[in-house]
Symmetry: C2
Subunit: 644 residues, 2 copies
Amino acid sequence: MTPVTYNIEQPTNFNFINLKTGQKEIPFGEYLFQRILDAGTKSIFGVPGDFNLPLLEYLYEPQLIEQGLRWIGNCNELNAAYAADGYSRYSNKIGCLITTYGVGELSAMNGIAGGFAENSKILHIVGVARSVDSRCKNFKKRNLHHLVPNLIDSNFNGPNHKIYYEMIKDKICCSAEYLEDIDQVCNQVDKVIQDIFKYSKPGYIFVPVDFVNMTVPIDNLLINPKINLIDCIKPSFDDEIKIIEITKLIQDQLYKSKNPAIIGDVLIDRYGGQELINRLINETHIWNFSSVNGKSIINESNSTYMGLYNGDEGPTLVKERFLQCDLILNFGVDKNEINQGHYTFKYKQDCQLIELHPNYIRFSKPNDDDNDEEEDEQIFKGINFIHILKSLVESIDVGQLKYQYPVSIKPFKTEELNFEHDPNSQIITQTYIQNKFTDYLNPGDVVVCETGSVQFAMRDLVLPNQLKYISQGFFLSIGMALPAALGVGIAMQDYPRNHLSNNDIPNDYVPRLILLEGDGAAQMTIQELSSMIRFNIPIEIMLWNNNGYTIERAILGPTRSYNDVMKWDWTKLLQVFGDFDDRTDSCTINTPKELAYKMEQLKKGNKTKIIELMEIKLETLDYPKQLKHMVESAKVKNIKSTAI
Amino acid sequence: MTPVTYNIEQPTNFNFINLKTGQKEIPFGEYLFQRILDAGTKSIFGVPGDFNLPLLEYLYEPQLIEQGLRWIGNCNELNAAYAADGYSRYSNKIGCLITTYGVGELSAMNGIAGGFAENSKILHIVGVARSVDSRCKNFKKRNLHHLVPNLIDSNFNGPNHKIYYEMIKDKICCSAEYLEDIDQVCNQVDKVIQDIFKYSKPGYIFVPVDFVNMTVPIDNLLINPKINLIDCIKPSFDDEIKIIEITKLIQDQLYKSKNPAIIGDVLIDRYGGQELINRLINETHIWNFSSVNGKSIINESNSTYMGLYNGDEGPTLVKERFLQCDLILNFGVDKNEINQGHYTFKYKQDCQLIELHPNYIRFSKPNDDDNDEEEDEQIFKGINFIHILKSLVESIDVGQLKYQYPVSIKPFKTEELNFEHDPNSQIITQTYIQNKFTDYLNPGDVVVCETGSVQFAMRDLVLPNQLKYISQGFFLSIGMALPAALGVGIAMQDYPRNHLSNNDIPNDYVPRLILLEGDGAAQMTIQELSSMIRFNIPIEIMLWNNNGYTIERAILGPTRSYNDVMKWDWTKLLQVFGDFDDRTDSCTINTPKELAYKMEQLKKGNKTKIIELMEIKLETLDYPKQLKHMVESAKVKNIKSTAI
């Protein structure tokens, strides 16, 4: 039958004049996308739905496309949220997704919660019902599709249009605005974007579908043409004074210390401090450790890298080094059981600890049992560590540093961990991977690592210079990495070489994007491979196939059927998902020799297709020993007790 | 490396004796599964995660397996929730899923919300951190993986262990319990199950991982060995009196009425009233209409079926019939814009309307503008219509029915809609489908229909006798149907022929499960095809491929790229997802002739493989005219307005 023709005025590059104010106005949909561009975000993820279609029409405005605006349609909304998270982690801009309320927005929720837990900058725009529907007498009692009805007497009581907003506000975001008054919307949009930068957590904007074509003033665009992270965390005058004071206190500690060290934790990355921390290390030659979630912020090839510190869960020799330190500066500190070795960090007696966080700077003595807070503890609230870091780099006097580091201690190298490995084995093992994997990587590459057994192996591998490592190491949602890698790949197209901070990497080297996946995890979000093909993402995917949920097997039920997954024909997936013209290559790898050969070819850049997928076979119950600690911690949970 | 051996006491069929009370006790994990079995649920969906593994160990208890307990591992948690919803819709038992908190449970949320919106009985069991972790001084400030940290000062303030409970409580469930006191857990579990039956909405139980192996008394199991729907909605003595009174009032109306009719709405299905409503119709030969969400509850082959009534959005001839009625009994009424034709129900002048709902019975005159409530409106709260229906069937005196139905009006037949269709066309069109589709169906089959253009076409097709039709027609989350069909198929294994209520369907006929999918929707949840293979679900899948999001194209942006999806090789999917031994068959269908032939073969049962997947090609902008109303309603949203 003849399709319905839809007569609406197509948005044009025609600015409206407000007849009352005489001022120029633009449609709110355009304002929203302009603001996103002003914040540095170019590509937007999501899924169309009836409540966001009019907004999506603005994707085609020429003046926005010129600035790089691009729609990345995902296969589903959870994958869109994961992709937005990946986009942000790579670019340090805001990852943005658009969904429709209820069915779309709830589907994305786990991706947003993970972003919240791991301090990712994500903007979730949710198309909601018309503003009249939530207010107008005739409409507000109507039960609308996608909107859950009232729990009580839904045939009489109208739905709560803000129910989805109430579910997430102050729980999994730092900022949320449900737009209701067209006169406020510009400021509300700007506020959410600024909050996301300031707090480095997700934010939500709920946009009634009828607001999108209404016009709004352009004042904010003129006053603040760009929204930058740095402006959003600008210190007040009083804070500037504190910054100077704190910098001095830290320097005093550094100049006194015999064995100081830095921990490079994850929040450095979120506030754009990577260059600064590496500069500080290079200039001061201070001992430095990475953390589980901060891995790759510090260039691990530096001459005083001491390993990844993770309390009792890390290698003994790293622990020993850490215990030598009388001063620890933990930059960008984010405390959780994963990042703190299940709360087993141990400090030297009388060690001075300085925690540098986006919202506080704290001086304390961790081993002070007297809990003498007045003497030994000092806390400065509301100061973002990034300013301290900058100030330190600018003003540190290396001549006053009087280290007495033990001469025998060399930088941490992977080989020191002594992975026992049988060179004649025909089976690929975790120890083989740990031995060989860093050979595969080039400086400047980008690695996205799935939650799974391999993620635990990666901790103690020393990464090449300027390699960016991305993994959801705290929230641990399996399946996140695959769509996140799409997001990273898109961000690498929008901001090529964004992760490189100096001239170490030759201009003609194209950083590779590498995804380390597990079979159980991949099944969760597999369809997003389709989007990788669709948007021409160059990527090397290593799928470690050990037949099921390996972390779970390690914890409990190693041979139980609940830890099994269906066997898939992994090497045919890309063809089925849209590679009809031979743009991709897939293979199965069974032996160490095959793996070594393939890794060597790819390292050299001998890659003919845009996507390489390698299914790498491992034994079912083979997992790295770093996983053991996680398992031990879980074991405590299973002591039977009888009610007596 | 050697896998870690995990020394815990394996659960055994050994009952514990509580030394204080002298009473038998069993592990709580066993109690929980026993209760689920007692409620009639056999198969359980979900995904393993560290906080639910000890619970999953109880899946292997012989005494539970004997009763039919079975684990259906899904590819992800959203799909698990959709599958549980499908399981419930088919069996009328509780669909149950188990996830781990945060990463698993949030992923499932959209599936639960859809179940809430559409009154499905779903039990979501969420494994959470150890009870000590949320209480004990040393642990409660710890930020645990999967648990979102505190919004404020997360390095100091502990996380809110109940945050996920607070997000959903009273919003997308009728009942939720976060277990904290081992002495209360049995009653809490029973309460949630009973509430799910009573309110026909989802319920949650948050189970600390350390509770699972603790022992609990078996008293509840002895006192209430089964938990049945009927017991959960048992009327009180006072209510019994009201039931008699209401029945009489209704009968009086029926005996007076010249042109009465019944609407068979969705809540009849949820409270197990399908047999009763059809008996009532068969005995009284009363005019009857289905509703959008209640389709197939009424056997549409009955001799006084008048079509699917949907206000202005339905066919004219159905509207005309409805307007003749002076009495409408709307059984199982669930009001929303989809089910009420975007609130365009129109009644004859002086028509008496009786709404029969699980929580009220209401007598009113819809056209009474005076709003004379005292005279014309009467409402009885707290009475479940199912009792009224039963009472009516038992006590109606057909001799007192004095219909004066117009003799010329015959039962509604699909042909009356007059789909213009070119018999020589080489293209498969929506009108062709609407013309031919019911030929493909046999009495007693089961059809699961995705949200999409085809769903709109299905409304006015008269279904064969005892065909069960399942679709998420109100919440409209695309992608739901595919995993839901898995759930339906599992339920058909647990409760064969459950949907058949008399001997019309020969014993040797095996009801077919048919899934109608759309390409855009299928991409959302496609991996669950893998589980269909894994669990040997016999199913015929018609994938209507019209190149993208057709409903969205109808509303806006018919040729916009945001409405496109990647082209997939649909006919190779099953092989990739695990069919390595030729158990399935896939084909592409391009012309009406090919479609007719295939439908004929399958109708006759000429099916060699367990799964048949047919990719059926349609034109991109071809959609049924019933969709037009949805589009028109959305169109209002797009009137531009300038701020003046």
